[in-house]
């Protein structure tokens, strides 16, 4: 392992992920958390990103407390492609030497972080859900779920810098904390003919191949939904809560929904803040995929249904009645 002079490294850096000219929420969440860490470390929280035109993000990252904003602008970096973005970011980190670098654990973030860390020979902790500073030695303590949420591990990185982590969206709160960041514009020379990867087409489906784990609210239905047409009730409530809908395996087997919506052992593992299970019995294979949700609300006509064993709140009743009523009443309360 390469020995580093870790004292050269200073400040907490947060990667600003952006898509179509918009900053991903997780980046703002990390700026807020980064500001707390910077206070404990007696240093500054800084934002960094690369892209075609990114300087205008300075205003928004300033609203969330970034003291400095390190950027590289180049038209080749317009759309995310692993290798050119990696090279530009590795250049920035090598040059300015932050002690901590945080990246959202999104599809893009997880694609990027592993390759950046490898180039830097840095330690990288995946999919963190808690970040703290060890008071005795100022190391970053990164806590993450493994084994599908069955085991938590606290990881640290004593001898290498930056201490890198991808952090799960929705874990920390984005809090406004107005500053005017100093923008540090750097240059990275690259031309399109040096990039071997080409994007042929982008399709916004949002539908068929959905990644359920990205949602903070999931409204899930089981065989108790009765028939395919009733799944619309899941979607309606999910829309009210700005979440998405999912199903049990029996629903997939009945042909009511695609497999990409299935939660469980042979479906997707999800950890949303709120999971509503409607007409789902709560078989172990289903529960394996959702039991680490923060709040579980179960709706089932059978008071003995095993789903109530893991539910935070249980409702004995007909989901076909309760779901539309919930959508209607919640809608009045929620201002979008």
């Amino acid at each position: 392992m390469i020995k580093q002079d870790i004292k050269q490294y200073k400040n907490v850096w947060v990667f600003i992920e952006h898509n179509d000219g918009k900053i991903e929420r997780v980046s703002l969440e990390l700026l807020s958390k980064g500001a707390e860490l910077a206070k404990d470390l007696n240093c500054e929280v800084c934002a960094f990103t690369v892209g075609d035109k990114v300087e205008h993000f300075a205003k928004e990252v300033g609203e969330y407390g970034a003291k400095k904003f390190y950027i590289i602008e180049n038209s080749v970096l317009k759309e995310y492609r692993t290798e050119p973005w990696r090279n530009a970011i590795v250049y920035l980190i090598d040059k300015y030497k932050p002690e901590v670098a945080l990246i959202g654990a999104t599809t893009l973030g997880r694609d990027l972080a592993g390759t950046v860390a490898t180039k830097l020979s840095a330690g990288l902790t995946a999919d963190t859900t808690a970040l703290d500073i060890d008071p005795s030695n100022k190391n970053l303590l990164m806590t993450r779920p493994t084994f599908g949420g069955n085991l938590m591990a606290t990881i640290f990185c004593p001898d290498n810098r930056p201490q890198m982590s991808t952090v799960r969206p929705g874990v920390f709160k984005a809090v406004k904390n107005q500053t005017t960041p100093e923008v540090i514009k750097d240059k990275y020379d690259i031309t399109e003919d040096q990039v071997v990867k080409k994007i042929i087409e982008k399709v916004q489906t949002g539908e068929e191949k959905v990644n359920l784990s990205f949602y903070e609210v999931i409204v899930s239905g089981g065989k108790g939904m009765g028939k395919k047409e009733n799944l619309k009730l899941l979607e309606d409530l999910a829309n009210v809560l700005s979440g998405t809908w999912a199903v049990s395996r029996k629903v997939v087997q009945a042909g009511w929904a695609p497999q990409s919506r299935q939660v469980g052992q042979t479906g997707q593992t999800v950890h949303p803040k709120i999971y509503i299970a409607a007409g789902i019995s709560g078989a172990v294979q289903h529960v394996a995929g959702m039991k680490s949700s923060d709040i579980i609300i179960a709706i089932n006509t059978d008071p003995q249904a095993p789903i109530f064993e893991v539910a935070t709140y249980g409702i004995v009743g007909d989901c076909l009645q309760i779901l539309p009523k919930m959508a209607e009443m919640f809608k009045q309360k929620l201002v979008k």
Binding site: T115, A126, L151, V196, I200, S242, I274, F308, E309, Y313
Partner: protein, 271 residues
């Protein structure tokens, strides 16, 4: 077309139980399986071989018992299988793991020939980091395509491949030159039943053992000591207790539920 698939042997996570007394995982009696995502990587490589000819090599790093995973890979249609097994790898984090697998891949290339497509699962169901594939690609200096859901077009003569990969709320089609590294989603393909000929071949094909003495692996880049990340502690999350039953009229129930979740909705910025 020569594919090299990286597979990990993992405990069947769905059967792992937690011992709340000791705060550890109960792994006794839990079967070891090929990481489910990796089976789709093997399947994809075999399908390409079936269509365009060539061969499929598989490399697994793990303890001696991991040769079972490699035997299964043979039964799925792999041609050459390698087990990278050595005490010096114990406790490796993903940076060290990707180094060892990169070094192992060099040996496979030396023995079998240049590789067109490197494959890995999108993530392992035990460590769950999704970092090993990107790490190996970086060390190999080949383009990386993660979260593959469809192999759209393979052009062996132009040495190009088109892959559809998952984005948040959509997909994108990427074209890269080969060699490249692809990491796979479960929806990439359906695992076919192995034809008898594969099973017969599997029984006759040996697992090639690789270790620090028959490869050029630099032990000072492997193992716990040379991994930048360290596990400070591991603990089980608190057990889920049976919660509260909400009763009353329909309106009362829904108002009560709303009040319960309102703080969370505020935290999420929904209110």
């Amino acid at each position: 077309m020569h594919s090299l698939v990286f597979i990990k042997q993992v405990p069947d996570a769905a059967q792992v139980r937690v011992d709340y007394e000791t705060g550890t995982l109960i792994r006794e009696g839990v079967p070891a399986i090929i990481n489910p995502f990796d089976t789709h990587a093997i399947e994809a490589a075999v399908q390409i071989k079936d269509k365009f000819g060539g061969s499929v090599s598989v490399l697994c790093m793990g303890p001696p018992m991991a040769d079972e995973a490699l035997k299964k890979a043979l039964a799925m249609g792999a041609d050459n299988v390698f087990l990278l097994s050595d005490r010096v790898f114990a406790g490796s984090d993903t940076l060290a793991t990707s180094y060892a697998l990169w070094a192992g891949a060099q040996k496979v290339i030396q023995e079998i020939g240049p590789v067109d497509i490197f494959w890995a699962g999108k993530q392992a169901i035990d460590g769950d980091t999704a970092q090993t594939g990107p790490g190996i690609a970086t060390r190999l200096d080949v383009p990386l395509v993660t979260y593959a859901v469809e192999v759209k077009e393979v052009d062996p003569s132009a040495k190009k491949i088109k892959i559809v990969r998952l984005l948040e709320g959509g997909t994108e089609t990427i074209e890269v030159p080969m060699p490249c590294m692809i990491t796979t989603e479960e929806t990439l393909n359906h695992i076919r039943f192995a034809p008898l000929s594969y099973l017969i071949k599997a029984a006759k094909t040996p697992v090639v053992l690789l270790n620090s003495s028959n490869t050029t692996i630099d032990a000072s880049q492997c193992g716990l000591k040379n991994s930048p990340t360290k596990v400070k502690k591991a603990f089980t999350p608190p057990k889920r207790e049976r919660g509260e039953m909400i009763e009353g009229s329909l309106d009362e129930i829904i108002s009560a539920v709303y009040e319960k979740i309102e703080p969370m909705l505020k935290q999420l910025g929904r209110v």
